[in-house]
Structure formats: C-alpha cells, structure tokens
Symmetry: D2
Subunit: 349 residues, 4 copies
C-alpha cells in the first residue's frame, strides 16, 4: 500500500473546508495543516474538530513544512498565481482552484514557474469528474458517437451572486462560463478557433451597473469546424441546470440534470418530479471527491493530471475572447498556440 500524501490547504473558506473534509476521509491523503489570513474562534474550532491543530496565519509557514507534499490553493482568485509560484518554488505539488488568474500575463508567469520547478499542477475544473460528463467523454473517445459535430452546454445557476462578488469575479465569462469553456475543450479534445458572444442583462440591472451580463449564448468554433454552443443564466428559478449534449456523425449523447430522488407524484392537478440538485455542492459532490483522488493518483502513480495548467490557461483565453466579442459585437479569433493541441486531448481517466 502506498503511503498517504501529506497535504496542506491555503485558504479556509467554503471551498477550502470542502476539500479538507474530503481529504480527511480518503486513505490516499493525510491532511496536516491549513492556513488562512485571519483566524477567528469559529475557524479555530472548526480546525480542531478536524484535528488540524493551529491554523497558520501565513501560507509561507505551511509551505515551509518539509513533510507537506501537496498544497491545495483555495484563496481568493487574485492571489492564486502568487501562491502557485510560492508553492512551486517550495517544491510542492499544487492543486489550484479555477481560474489561475484574471490576467493572462500572471497566468503565463505562474505556469512558467511550475514548469521550471517541475512540480505537478492540477486546476480545479471539477466537472470533468462528474460521472455523467465523464461518460460523455468516454463515448466521444470510444468513437461511438463518430466525429463530434455539435456540443451543447446548458449552464444556469439557481440564484445570482451579490454585487460585491460580481465586481471582483472578473465577469460572468471568467467566473461562470469558464467551466463550460473547459467542458467544451475536454469533450472535444481540440482547441477553439473562434468565439462569438451574445450577452444580455435580463435577470437583474445590478449586473449591468457592474458592467457585466447575466444571460448569454456563446458560440465556439473548433479548429476542425465543429461547433459548441453554451447558454448561461445567472438565475434559473427551478435550480441548478447543468446539461450537456454531444452530437456526432454516428449518434448523440445527452447528460441530464441530477435530482435528489426518483419520485414522481401524480395527482388530480399535476404530475411532478424533483427539481434538479440545488447547486454545485450537491450536484458536483462526487466530482469534488474524485478530482482530488485523481490528483493523488497523478502524484503517486504518475497518471497525468486530469486538468493541467495549460487547460486552465486555455479556458481563460476563451473567456477573454468571449468578453471581447461581447464588447465589440463581433466574432473573435483565438491565436494558435503551438503545442496546445496535445493538452486539449487529455484523456479521461
């Protein structure tokens, strides 16, 4: 039996704690420490209930622990790149939440440091490990659907975030659609050549005041000529709507929403079933566990990471192009980056 990976987490917000609880029950990990800039009583109590001892108030202290092999970066987005560089220089394997940064220059530099230091970096596009979407990927790779012609992604949140979040989010394309851009590349296994965005402010005028949109249809054209269309809304009143379809020359596959139960109720007035799982914590519960298990296999068994730094960077580039298309009203071509096709063709594990 291989020894567990000693891990630390930088950032003890919602997603940091989620990873902490997942790591604790996995035999492949031994979670040792967590760091957070400001530590109150509630956080310290939480850390003790997880046997994590004192919370570090300085991420560098955590990185200085030579026993720690892997670091999970769960801080606010604008510090991801900084911590990636620090962790890489400390020779830690890195799991970083998406996006790597809101700036292509920062992302490039962070990836360069990772490459120089020769550590592993996995980006947290957890949906790649959703059982239904993985099955779509397997169907594409197996050739059962033939050559993919059209990919359709519906991605709608159950409720809009607050104004403060919107202002610091980098905009809907960088914050929300970025998951769908990654899904499109993951399923197609090739790069995007052109982006056209039709965005709108229909849900709440607040988004417009923040210079953002809340509704969008984005068309991606792949190098092969295949087409992907994504539709987003910040507010689907019936719950988290996450559906994907791959249509190819030999067939089509659809992944529908997940629902808490299979119960259908028929009465004199209606026939009803459950709404979709409420939000990402419920819907992608299993994917959050499996992406971390895959990271352990990448460290211990030399499997490729399921989502590389290049994958993270490409999704950011598409998000930037989507924003430009929205602002200009015109399609935007993406520059070709040598050597990137190979990364897009990452295999399903």
């Amino acid at each position: 039996m291989v020894s567990p990976i000693v891990a630390g987490i930088i950032g003890a917000g919602r997603i940091g704690r989620l990873h902490a609880d997942n790591l604790r029950v996995m035999p492949s990990y031994k979670l040792k420490s967590i760091a957070e800039a400001v530590v109150g009583e509630e956080l310290q109590a939480w850390a003790e209930s997880r046997n994590l001892g004192s919370v570090f108030t300085n991420g560098e202290d955590l990185l200085n622990d030579p026993e720690i092999e892997a670091v999970f970066i769960c801080t606010p987005t604008d510090t991801h790149a900084y911590w990636i560089e620090q962790a890489a220089r400390a020779q830690k394997n890195i799991f970083c939440e998406k996006p790597i940064s809101l700036s292509s220059a920062q992302t490039s530099r962070a990836l360069q440091v990772v490459e120089e230091e020769g550590v592993l970096l996995q980006v947290g596009f957890n949906r790649r490990m959703d059982p239904s979407f993985r099955k779509l990927k397997q169907l594409v790779q197996s050739g059962q659907l033939g050559k993919p012609h059209v990919v359709k992604i519906t991605s709608r949140d159950p409720q809009p975030p607050g104004e403060a979040y919107v202002l610091s989010s980098g905009g809907m394309f960088m914050d929300m659609t970025i998951h769908d851009f990654d899904m499109a590349r993951y399923l197609m296994g090739e790069e995007v050549a052109e982006v056209y965005t039709r965005g709108a402010n229909l849900v709440d005028p607040m988004f417009g005041r923040c210079g953002d949109v809340d509704t969008a249809v984005i068309t991606l054209t792949f190098v092969s000529g295949a087409i992907c269309v994504i539709d987003n809304s910040r507010k689907a009143v019936y719950g988290y709507d996450q559906r994907v379809e791959v249509f190819g020359s030999h067939g089509s596959a659809t992944a529908d929403n997940c629902r808490p139960t299979t119960v259908e109720v028929s009465t004199a007035s209606s026939v009803t079933r459950d709404q979709p799982e409420h939000f990402f914590l419920e819907r992608y519960n299993q994917a959050f566990t499996e992406e971390v298990a895959a990271f352990a296999r990448a460290i211990r068994l030399q499997e490729p990471v399921i989502c590389s730094g290049i994958d993270g960077q490409q999704a950011e580039r598409i998000a930037e192009a989507a924003k430009e298309s929205h602002l200009t009203g015109l399609p935007v071509k993406l520059p070709f980056h040598a050597g990137e096709e190979s990364s897009a063709a990452s295999q399903v594990l």
Copy 2:
C-alpha cells in the same frame, strides 16, 4: 352547422396528396379538384380513388371554378408566388406551403396582391400546431414562464436530401431552418433584430460543392434583448430530432421528441427505448391536420389565420440574413419594418 368549404389543390406531389387525404375526412371541407402539370396513370388512379374526377393539367382551370372557395398551393417553391397572385385575383382564400418564394421582391409582390384582393392567406408553418409546441406558446402567453430570456431549438433531419433537391432548395437556411425561424418568432411573439450564423459542412462534401452547409448554430437576438439559439443538422442517424426549450424569468419549459411507443426494454446489455418518430410526416401528422382545420376556422369563423403572409415574409428575411452572416462571418442586423410587431404576436388558438 356551417357549410363545408369547397377546396381545390394545385400540385399533386407528396404534400398535395397529404393535404388531400386530410381534407377528405374533415367535415369542414369538401375537396373538389386537384391540378398537376403532368398527369400520368398513377396520378389519375389516385385521384379517382379519392373521388376527385379528372385531374386538371392547368391550375387556372381549377381557379376558374366559381364553386371553389379555398385553394391549397402545393407546387414547387419557385411557382408559389405566381399561384398566390393568380388565386388572389380569382378571389380564392389561399393556403400556401412555405416559403412563399426564394426572393424578397417576389414575396412582397405576392403579399401586396393578397392585400389588394382582400383574400385570406395562410402559410404552411405546420409546427405551430404541434401539440407540444402549442403548449409552449400557451405557457409563454400565460406568463407562467415569466419574461422569456432564452429560446433553444434543436432541429435535425434524419437523413440528408439529394443533390438535386439541395441545388433548388434555396439553401439550408431557407429550406430547413426557416421552420425554426418561424418557431422562434411564434414562441417569442416579437421580432428578430440580429442574426449570427456559424455554419459548417461536416455531414457530406456534396453540400459544400453545392455552396450549402449541412450543420449550423444560429443565434437570433430579439428586439427585447432575449436570445434564441437554433442548432441544425441534415443528418441525425437516430431519427428526426425536434426539441424546443423556452427559458424565462419564472421558469423553463421543454418539449421533447415524440416516439412511436412508450416501451423501455432492459436486458443484460442495455436499457433501450424507441428512437424519435422517423420524420416530419410522422412527427407532425397531427399538426398537418390541425393547421388545415385552423384555416377552415379562419374562413368560416373569422378567426385570425395562425400564420400570416407577413409571418412567412419575416421568416424568409431571417433566412436571408442568416445566409449573409454565414457568408461574411459577421452578425447581420435586420431592418425594422413598421407594423410587423403585431403580426409576430399572433395568438395561439
């Protein structure tokens, strides 16, 4: 009981005979005559089996029969406008298959003659009468879905037409997508302001040789800012794929494919159910009957026609813009035509 409408049909091809058989069993019609340029033995035998007597070889002869009140124009597309004008001048109420013409000038002139003569014109966008799509329209009109934000239309044929058909079809947007353009206007009840097309030739190189596409994703932006996205393919190997979704501020409604049976078979190797109804004759069987019944109500009961000449014209304009967008690679704005909003808001009956 109102008297039946005495009807004639010009054009005895597949769609003309379909209407003939539908009219024969409806108490609101009395089908009297049919005309076709060339009459062989097979056609004459068919006509006799329907008690239609001699087939006219000249449509004008049919129009000269004063007993005939209503004419169904089922000729090739390039003669629709001609027969509309002739029928209007003969004071017949007109049911015409889509599109009215492949030329905006011809369509405009035909509509002008109809208006001058004061006859009724209904265009054969039969999908408006599909039970599932009608229910979507009712849900939009009732306000149950709130303000519509996004409409999604999937429309895929089970197999591509032959080269001769493609060459004379006016192209995929005018021949096939035109149904979806009409559906978008019907469901939204407002006009399209801009069109962006991403087309591709992925199914068969023949389409490319004909200067046409076989795969496309088309984004329509409505005057209100709402967005519609249509995805088309000339070849869905699993059957006729006809699905529509309306997503609004208060909810979403989806219309799925129809299937011949409800049987699901579970074996050691798979769980299977029926493929969708094969093609339009099966899927829109009921809609073909109901559009003709609605035309009878328009004639006898002064109900508005369910799809007017203006509706036909607007769908053609969107198709032309879609083609232009495909050729230029850029979004195309549609000019505003005064007085047209009202036509778009045609009520579901």
Copy 3:
C-alpha cells in the same frame, strides 16, 4: 386493389358511432347502414351527416341486406350473443364488442353457431392493437425477453361509472378487468391455470351496495408456472393509468402511459409534465382504428383474426373465476379446455 368491405353496424351508441367514423375514412371499408332500436332526430341527423341514409330500427333488416359482408355488433352486452347468432346465420362476418355475454352458456352457444356457419368472428379487445402493447408482444415472441416469468398490468380508470352502469356491468371483473385478462393471455401466449383475487371497496360505498368492488389485485398463475398480477382501481384521480410490464429470464420490458404532449415545465415550485391521456377514447384511439383494419385483413387476406371468439370466451372464464375467488377468499383453479392453447398463442400481426 381489393374491393372495399361493405359493412353495417348494429347499435348506434358511443362505440357504434366511433366505429362508424373510423370505417368511413378507411379505404378497405364501405359503411352502408346502421341500426338502432329507437331513432330520434339527433341520431337521424348524425346518420345523414355520414351519408348513411335512414337508420334501421331493426337489426334484422340490416342483416337481410345481401350486399353487407361484415357486421359490427355494438349493442348492449346482454344482446351481443343474440346478434352474433343472427349475423352468423345471415352469413355475415362479425366484429363484436367485448364481452360476448355475461353467461358462459350463452357465449358457448354463440361460438357454436359461428363455427357452424363458418363466418369470421373478431372480439373487440382493442388493446391488443395499442402500439406499445403490440411491441411488448413482439418482444415476447421474438425471445428477446427470454422465458416470461412475471407479467404486471396496472389498469385504472380516471373516474367511476354511475350506479346504473355498475348494476348492469356484470361486475368489475367482467366489465373492466376482462381487458387485462385478455392482455395477460395475449402477452403470455398460454392459458391461465389459477386465479386469486383480493378485492376491496375503497373508492365509493356505492360499489359495495351494488355487490361489486372498485379496487382489486388479481394474481393469475399460468400453466407454465409464470405469474401475472393485475391491479385495478375504478378511480385514478390523475387520469387513465394503463401500464404493462413483462419480466423474463433475459430481460424486462415496460409500456408506460401515453401523454398528450412531451412538455415538461420547471418553475420555482415544481417540475411538472402532462397527466396520462384522459380515458380509453384518447389512449386507444389508434388501437380502435387498427383493430378494424386487422378485421378487414382477416376478411380479405385470410389473416387470422387478432382476437377470436375463443379468446373472448377464455377472458370471460377468467373473469368468472376471479369473481368466485373474491367471493370465497380462496384461489380458484380453471378447468383445462382441450385445444385452447393454440388460440392463446395468436400471433401479433
């Protein structure tokens, strides 16, 4: 092209008129006459609208018309056997609604006359021609499900009939479950050896006062040891519930309810879809047409009738045994009738 079958109908109630309208639009029939004991203005007007001329007030007069080849018996149940005998003696082919009679002696005598006269008799168990149930039969016959082990039939009416109907119906087993007994034999292709009934009066005390039940679970054991279970209710508030499952050694097949549209509506409060088709006229609309088309093929093309007199008789025998089991609280064995296996194995056409 074969000549149409000249047909007459005895009985102009709901089901008689339904058959009349179906026969009128089928090229294989020419409906000539209808008979009804008492003819009012409304009936005569209806008959004229169908070009049926004067309604006969005496069925014998209709039977005396030598041009008529086929007679549809749509009178009240207690006269079915009488008219079968009269029609058989008049050398007409006979389509008779179910059940043949409420008395096994009467049914036997009627079948004997049919046999002596050598005419065709088809009993109106229309559900055999429902597209979904036919597909189940084909799956059983093809061997795809292996050897059938369990058949499950859910059969619930949307609303209970009135007291007068109940009193003359012969009881729920003879009136309603008889369809399910026939379906069980049709799907299994073998005979029932034992019946156990658990009935209850849960819907309305009226049924109890009439000596009848309104809810029941009936277990049929086939000669092979396979088991069928039927559950009935006279009142399913959500609509007509008609589902069948065949479970076998190699797999299982389910036929679900049919619904008017495929629309699903998701809102903040619920996810809803259509209730089942309201009642038998809607659900079995296509089956009513197809059973009559099959009768024409039996007459003109020497195909076997899809449901013979023996099939009708066997269903009645099971209904009688079900009633006896209900009254005694004990399982009831069915006597073996030589030569009947073959009839049960009627093929799906």
Copy 4:
C-alpha cells in the same frame, strides 16, 4: 456539540466492515473496536488501517468495555438473537442487522430482554432511509396521496446467491422479501391482516432442490382493506430492480430505480440509458449511512428509532405467513397482536 457515541461492531464480514467505514467518517460516532470469531492477517491489517487496534476474537470482551455505548451486530443471522441478549444485558444500545432470527420464539425472547434492560434496539431495514422511499413515506403521511389503496413493490436481485447461502437463508421470504414486508408496513403505517403467496421456481432448479422459490408475487391485505402486492425475482439480468408505488384516493407516487449517470445515447440502432445501480451496496449506499445517523440521533436526541424490534418481529411474522401460504396454496391470516399498530405507525424522520 454532543459527544460522539463510542461504538463497537460484532462481526467483521462485508456488512460489518461497511458500517465500520461509515461510522469512521461520521462526527457523531467514535468507532473503537471490532470483534470476529476468527482473525486472519487480512482482517487484522484492515482493522489497523482503520485505527481499530487488535480485533477481539470474543464478542463478550468487546461488550465488557464500559466505554462502548453502542454495539452493531453484524454476525450471521443465527447468532443475532444471542448477541442482542448479551448486548442488552451489558446495557449497550443495539443496532442489529435483519432479521432478528429465523425463529419467532427466539425473536420474542430477544425483544423481551431488550425491553427488560431498557436499551435501544434498531433493526437494519436500511431501505426506510433511501431518499426516494422516504419521500414516499412523507407523501403518505402528509396526506397528499389521500388514503392509500394499493402499494406495489418490485424487488428483484441482479443475480441469485449460491446454494450454501440459500440453504442457510431461511428461504426467499425471510431473506429477501422481508425487506419488502417492512417497506409495506413502513409506507402504510398499519398492520397486515392476510397474506397470499404465489411462488415459483423459474430462475434455477437449485432453488427448488433447496425447497425454496426464486420468483414470487405476494399479496398483503392490510387491516384497513388496502392491498399491497410485491413481486420478487432472484435474477433480473439488467440489474437491481427496486421500485415502489403508492396509489391513493388523491394521487399516486412512484419511486423509480437509481442509475449511475443520466446519460442517454441515441444511435442509428438504439436509444439507451444506464442500467439500474448494480446491487444494494450501490443503490442503498446513502441509506446505510443515514440509518446509522438516525441511530445516533435516537441515542443522543431521544428521537424514536426508525425501525424498532417490533418492526423487525412483524416483518418476520409476515415472512412466516408468506411461506405457509406458499406451502398450502391458501391465503393465511395473521393473528392480531395488541399494541402493535402503534409501532407500525413509526414516523419518518
């Protein structure tokens, strides 16, 4: 925060280890020890990987640990009653797998000891905590379905057990259907008055040689007159088939199978979706966790246990009656046991 419950497990087979892994990740438990008659290297290594120290080879030693508050009995069925008595006398709260015993006398005595000692006993009918079946129970209790008239339970295993298992299982009714008998009582909240069994040996002659059946339809009549029908098979080639329907005066609710993904694949040859979850470990994964969480709440928060000893005993009595009905071919009435209605009406938590 309440202190965790210190727990021990007697029996380290498949189900004992399953509970061990569930208890380890639940904050409400602290799993301290496990006992198993024979301890090999593999078991000791497993125990150490779970920080359980030395495995006790004698359950009494575990019971002698005063720190342990709760004991999980996961031994072979024929020792359940013995360990219940021992654990009760040691003043431990008891979670026992089903059935309590294969003998009504043993079960009664064990329950008496539990009552005398005043400890809690929960029986492991885990399906009560399946999210879909819990929702059915809530729908019944809320009155949304009105008065229940018919309950239908389909329960089929994916593959038959081996001959050794069958011989020691107590027969299909005691081993497999017992879950369904409990489900029927749970959903109805009342007692069974009569049982009729129609069993068959259709899957494998081995069952017949063992004096057992592999296929059965069992009809339960409740005191109120409501009817439940259960259909069982030891072999559903397509997977674990676990469906329940409650039909009542105001509506019906169905719980369908769970499937690993929501993917549907449409090709030229078929439309397929996933088979049901393979077997109970997958399907009832969440229920296994939740039954143990409920037991913790019963201990710490004085909530009633979700499934009492009386519930276990009643299910066994129905199983015995079902077997008697199978052997005699006649319905079997269940004696009324005073005070038991209340236990049947156990609330959903």
